[in-house]
């Protein structure tokens, strides 16, 4: 997602001074020297206010995605579980918001290990105002840290769609607490941390296709398998209780995703702009193609479908956003919706109860996006970060196999660890609520409150 190389190149390009015929030779010389001095300063860590402004905004935008996700998911469950589902997201803002500062950032980004960070930045010791040249040379180190926090918050919340309407709240908190440490931090380090093995290998993940979407999508599968199906699966009553809430959630996600993807340029650069365009375009294309698939399959395009398609497109473009051009992003967007749609139909046929389709959207979308990066990435878009062009841009399979390795490694690791964590919790305290509590609803039984009292009293 970020490397000092890319940053230095692009900033350097932006600041390159072109001498005009009118400028005398001595000025040119002085300017050249001045430029070098500025460059030096850049590297040694002065803060660019424009880059910092954009990264602070991006951090806020990504934080805002989590309440957006709460709406997106909560609209799809029954009204008796609306607060439970909301809490699955909101509680991550609380828990991971704290643990990230305490140890998460350090485990993910400090040191130079290949598998996991070290404890050098525990409690943010040493993470201060001065930029970190490895990750973000033009913004305060604290800005980079808090930007990353927002990714760590939303990732476990994404999993919650699979376990909706039947998991004990305490077990959920325990699971996400451990998962965050044992899965998220290592995978983030592999892909983005200095020394991380996937980063070193040269696998590309611009904004979190593997770290965020594949890791959570696979964990979702583990949860669905371990928890089993909800009662009444397949009957009418499992229809979404408030689709407008889901669409609003999708709107907030789309909005926030600009921070997620364009923010991953770690500056207000042309690269950020390019990622922004790819993001919007893929989301649009995927929403449209989901509507088209529904039109063909059932005769009618739905609002839930358009929202689902948009999110699938946003997921799929995430790993690729900073490496591909607008036409590639259209292709990626158009292709993901039929894939996700089919995966979801397959799930229903297998009677796997991934309640809100985390596997179909995030695992399928993230994997497709990671592989599409191996097909469409091009130095023309990002000379600083793309080492090998994608297959369709003449780079052969050099990048593609790296991408496949990254997908496979992340998927296997997250799946195995998720099953292990859930098994331990199941043994210790159980993971599923009683039949009666499930029928009564999780809001009342897990949280002692109800979502709505809409009628006059």
């Amino acid at each position: 997602m970020t490397s000092s190389i890319r940053k230095r190149l692009s900033t350097g390009a932006g600041k390159r001074l072109v001498a005009r015929p009118v400028a005398v030779a001595i000025l040119s010389t002085l300017l050249l020297l001045l430029h070098r001095a500025l460059e030096a300063q850049q590297v040694s860590g002065s803060i660019d206010t424009g880059d910092t402004a954009w990264m602070l905004v991006s951090s806020a935008l990504v934080l805002f995605m989590t309440p957006g996700l709460a709406l997106f998911y909560a609209g799809m469950v029954r009204s008796k579980n609306v607060l439970s589902t909301t809490m699955h997201s909101f509680s991550m803002m609380a828990m991971v918001g704290l643990t990230w500062v305490l140890w998460g950032y350090s485990l993910s980004f400090s040191g130079h290990g290949s598998l996991i960070g070290d404890l050098g930045w525990l409690g943010l010791r040493g993470v201060g105002a001065a930029p970190n040249p490895d990750y973000a040379p033009t913004i305060p180190h604290t800005t980079y840290m808090i930007y990353q926090a927002m990714f760590a918050i939303i990732t476990p919340a994404l999993i919650s769609g699979a376990l909706a309407e039947r998991m004990k709240f305490g077990a959920y908190m325990a699971f996400t607490f451990l998962w965050s440490i044992l899965v998220y931090c290592p995978v983030a380090h592999w892909v983005w941390g200095t020394g991380g093995w996937l980063r070193t290998l040269g696998a590309l993940d611009f904004a979190g296709g593997t770290v965020v979407h594949i890791s959570s999508g696979v964990a979702a599968l583990a949860c669905a398998l371990m928890l089993g199906r909800r009662q009444h699966l397949g009957s009418e009553e499992l229809a979404p209780h408030n689709v407008t809430m889901t669409v609003l959630g999708a709107g907030i996600l789309w909005f926030g995703w600009f921070g997620f993807n364009a923010g991953s340029a770690i500056g207000a650069s042309a690269l950020a702009s390019s990622a922004f365009v790819a993001t919007n375009t893929a989301a649009a294309a995927a929403a449209l193609s989901w509507m088209a698939v529904e039109r063909l399959a059932t005769g009618k395009a739905t609002a839930l479908g358009a929202a689902s398609g948009a999110v699938a497109g946003l997921v799929a473009i995430t790993p690729a956003a900073g490496y591909v051009g607008p036409v590639s992003s259209i292709i990626i967007g158009l292709a993901i919706s039929p894939l996700s749609y089919c995966a979801i139909q397959l799930k229903s046929r297998l009677r796997l109860d991934d309640a809100l389709d985390v596997v179909g959207v995030h695992f399928v979308g993230g994997s497709f996006g990671a592989i599409a990066t191996g097909l469409f990435a091009t130095k023309a878009i990002n000379p600083g970060m793309v080492r090998y062009n994608g297959l369709f841009f003449g780079g052969g399979v050099q990048l593609l196999w790296r991408q496949i390795v990254a997908v496979a490694a992340t998927a296997v690791f997250s799946f195995a660890l998720s099953i292990a964590i859930l098994s331990v919790i199941k043994l210790l305290s159980g993971i599923r609520v009683t039949r009666e509590d499930e029928a009564m609803g999780l809001d009342l039984t897990q949280h002692g409150e109800v979502g709505y009292h809409l009628e006059a009293v």
Binding site: E236, A239, E294, K300, L304, S308, I344, Q345, D357
Partner: protein, 113 residues
């Protein structure tokens, strides 16, 4: 006293209320219900999952009237609520043994006016 329960289409409520008004019947209670019958449901799709929903939105209007008024009221409702298409609904009549106005304690027919 007769209790008249009419299950009608939601968008006929205004017309039925107007018809009752014309008869001087103001007292009534209206409930949002869902009904199934001959009218076929509509198919809904959520992410490709198909649900055939045969409980459709209806309005149930209840009014208790004196024995004398009953037939006239039923007729008025029937006329105002009919479209001729399946799903127009039903009217049920049953006996009420007593009525009481909470405000005044009046009982019987005089509680209805």
């Amino acid at each position: 006293m007769i209790k008249i329960e009419a299950i009608i289409r939601p968008n006929k409520l205004d017309d039925v209320k107007a018809a009752l008004d014309a008869l001087g019947v103001q007292g009534m209670t209206v409930i949002h219900v869902m009904g199934s019958g001959k009218q076929r449901g509509r198919t809904q799709h959520y992410r490709g999952q198909e649900y055939i929903v045969n409980l459709l939105d209806k309005i149930k209007l209840e009014t208790v009237v004196s024995d004398a008024e009953a037939d006239q009221v039923v007729k008025a409702i029937t006329q105002a609520a009919a479209t001729g298409d399946i799903g127009d609904g039903k009217v049920f009549m049953s006996r009420i043994d007593n009525a009481l106005r909470i405000r005044t304690g009046e009982q019987g027919d005089s509680a209805l006016k």
